[in-house]
């Protein structure tokens, strides 16, 4: 099946689902109170997109997401590489890490609000706690799975500890870390949105919470759609970044010469 047909089938599926939904609403089979008409949702999305005030909400959520993502990833990679290299420290800290990771992050939101206020940083903190552990476990695994022969080879060629880090450990962990970056971007958004949802004065989560408060299902659905697009765009940016960073992996370019 070629790419064109696949695209057509995807488009067809979309038309059937959305069209069916719209028809169901118009025929009165679907209750608009719970499932508003797709056409109304689209109108709400367009209304937001052309409203300059809406971009303040987007930019706040984006700032929280990016800050939470960057800080969480940086801490996760640093801690993961460190504990991956030092097994002794890992064994000591292991129960604490497991206990911290076992806490459902949502319950931390009120504490962060208490500590950091209703502003930006309580949301960033929630994002960080979600992102950190994903990156941390992946970075640690990546460092541990370094091929011992490659490591021995680099040491014999004269690599000191710092060169081993930059030439062996980090590149070896890079594919693990990158795969965690894909997973954790969704969590960064979740952290920001939940934070906003539970207490904020702006942001996409706040918009959804407000719509829900008014029993405005159109607003809730439109907010969800905006969020999905938001994550898809970030995901696409990561796709490009990954292709540029990992040039050496077997699936990226041409096949071996024989």
């Amino acid at each position: 099946m070629n790419a064109m047909t696949e695209r057509m089938i995807q488009l067809g599926l979309l038309v059937v689902i959305v069209g069916g939904w719209q028809l169901g609403v118009e025929a009165g089979v679907i209750d608009v109170f719970f499932f508003p008409a797709p056409f109304d949702i689209m109108k709400q999305i367009v209304a937001w997109i052309i409203d300059p005030g809406f971009y303040r909400h987007v930019s706040i959520t984006l700032t929280e997401t990016v800050l939470g993502y960057v800080i969480g990833t940086a801490l996760g990679v640093a801690a993961g590489v460190w504990l991956g290299l030092s097994r002794g420290t890992y064994r000591i800290l292991d129960p604490f890490i497991k206990a911290l990771n076992a806490i459902p992050r949502v319950v931390l939101a009120p504490i962060f609000v208490l500590w950091l206020g209703l502003g930006l940083w309580s949301k960033v903190a929630l994002s960080v706690t979600l992102v950190f552990f994903i990156t941390f476990f992946n970075a640690m695994q990546g460092v541990r799975e370094v091929n011992p022969v490659v490591l021995a080879n680099a040491r014999i060629l004269g690599a000191e500890r710092s060169s081993l880090l930059t030439h062996v450990y980090f590149p070896a962990a890079a594919s693990w870390i990158l795969s965690s970056l894909r997973t954790s971007v969704g969590f960064a958004v979740v952290g920001a949105i939940i934070g906003e949802y539970l207490g904020a004065s702006a942001g996409l989560g706040y918009l959804i919470a407000q719509a829900e408060g008014n029993f405005d299902a159109v607003g809730v659905f439109a907010g969800i759609m905006i969020l999905a697009m938001f994550v898809l765009i970030i995901d696409r940016i990561l796709d490009i970044a990954e292709a540029r960073l990992i040039k050496w992996s077997p699936h990226s370019t041409e096949s071996p010469a024989t």
């Binding site: 080879n153 680099a154 014999i156 070896a172």
Partner: protein, 276 residues
């Protein structure tokens, strides 16, 4: 053990013989309570190509890792060019059995690693790396990543990577065992040509007796493990330069093969009995 005593470092120092490059004195390697090799004495002269053969699981590789400083002997000492081995050695070249190239670096970047870690300037190491890649027949493949090269080509890159630093000793752990027979012959000949150009001490481990005789100046037979030790040592007096494929038809080669095999066979059989 009488043989081992004769081969000790001091007796090798006669004026007509080159100085010993690697000395292994009553080395025992163990992992916990498991003793891999026991009381091994070996001396490799500068410029000598030593091949070590032995049945599988006899601890051949642990001897190489002791020379490289990757493993510490439980007792005994290893020294390279008179200096005792402590920690990982940087004056050796190690050809591993497995792929040891850094997969995230191109052939060129892999070859320039040794000089780079030693602090050679970028221009100089570029020149060296290009020269070595050309030497192993990989001109034009500099920018390929390991996964874009064939098994033989990866071995060539590894050879260039190990030899570019001008090591005092070259260690090889069944370097060509993963290659098909034709590529193997080709690589063996190329290795011999490179070695002939600039003779270094070589310690090669193999389970392939033909390879050991075709390449080596001396073949040492190890006993079946555990507690493996040197049981025999055969000088290989075949003329150099050699062609690996042709030399196997030489009657002298066949004599050597018969002699060494009669010594090795018993150990191989013992090893099978223990493993079955």
């Amino acid at each position: 053990m009488a043989l081992a005593v004769v081969k000790s470092a001091t007796t090798m120092m006669s004026p007509d013989k080159p100085r010993p490059m690697v000395s292994i004195d009553s080395v025992t390697m163990s992992f916990g309570t498991f003793i891999a090799v026991q009381n091994v004495d070996l001396t490799v002269a500068d410029g000598e190509f030593l091949a070590i053969v032995g049945p599988t699981g006899c601890g051949k590789s642990t001897i190489l890792n002791a020379i490289a400083g990757l493993l510490k002997p439980a007792s005994g000492t290893v020294s390279i060019d008179g200096a005792p081995v402590h920690g990982v050695q940087n004056n050796i070249g190690y050809l591993f059995q497995q792929d040891a190239l850094l997969p995230w670096k191109t052939a060129f970047e892999n070859v320039e690693l040794g000089p780079m870690f030693k602090g050679t300037s970028a221009g100089e190491r570029r020149e060296q790396a290009m020269k070595w890649l050309a030497k192993v027949g990989l001109k034009g493949f500099e920018q390929r990543y390991p996964h874009q090269l064939s098994g033989g080509q990866r071995k060539r890159v590894q050879m260039a990577q190990a030899l570019i630093t001008g090591p005092k000793v070259i260690l090889m752990d069944e370097p060509f065992s993963a290659l098909d027979i034709h590529t193997r012959h080709l690589m063996q000949n190329e290795l011999l040509a490179l070695w002939q150009e600039e003779r270094r001490a070589v310690v090669m481990i193999t389970h392939d007796l033909e390879e050991a005789i075709a390449l080596g100046d001396r073949v040492v037979v190890l006993a079946a493990g555990p507690c493996s030790h040197v049981i025999d040592s055969f000088p290989v007096d075949l003329a150099r330069p050699r062609d690996v494929a042709e030399i196997k038809l030489d009657p002298r080669f066949m004599d050597l093969y018969r002699n060494i095999w009669s010594s090795l066979r018993g150990e191989v059989e013992k090893s099978y009995e223990r493993h079955d």
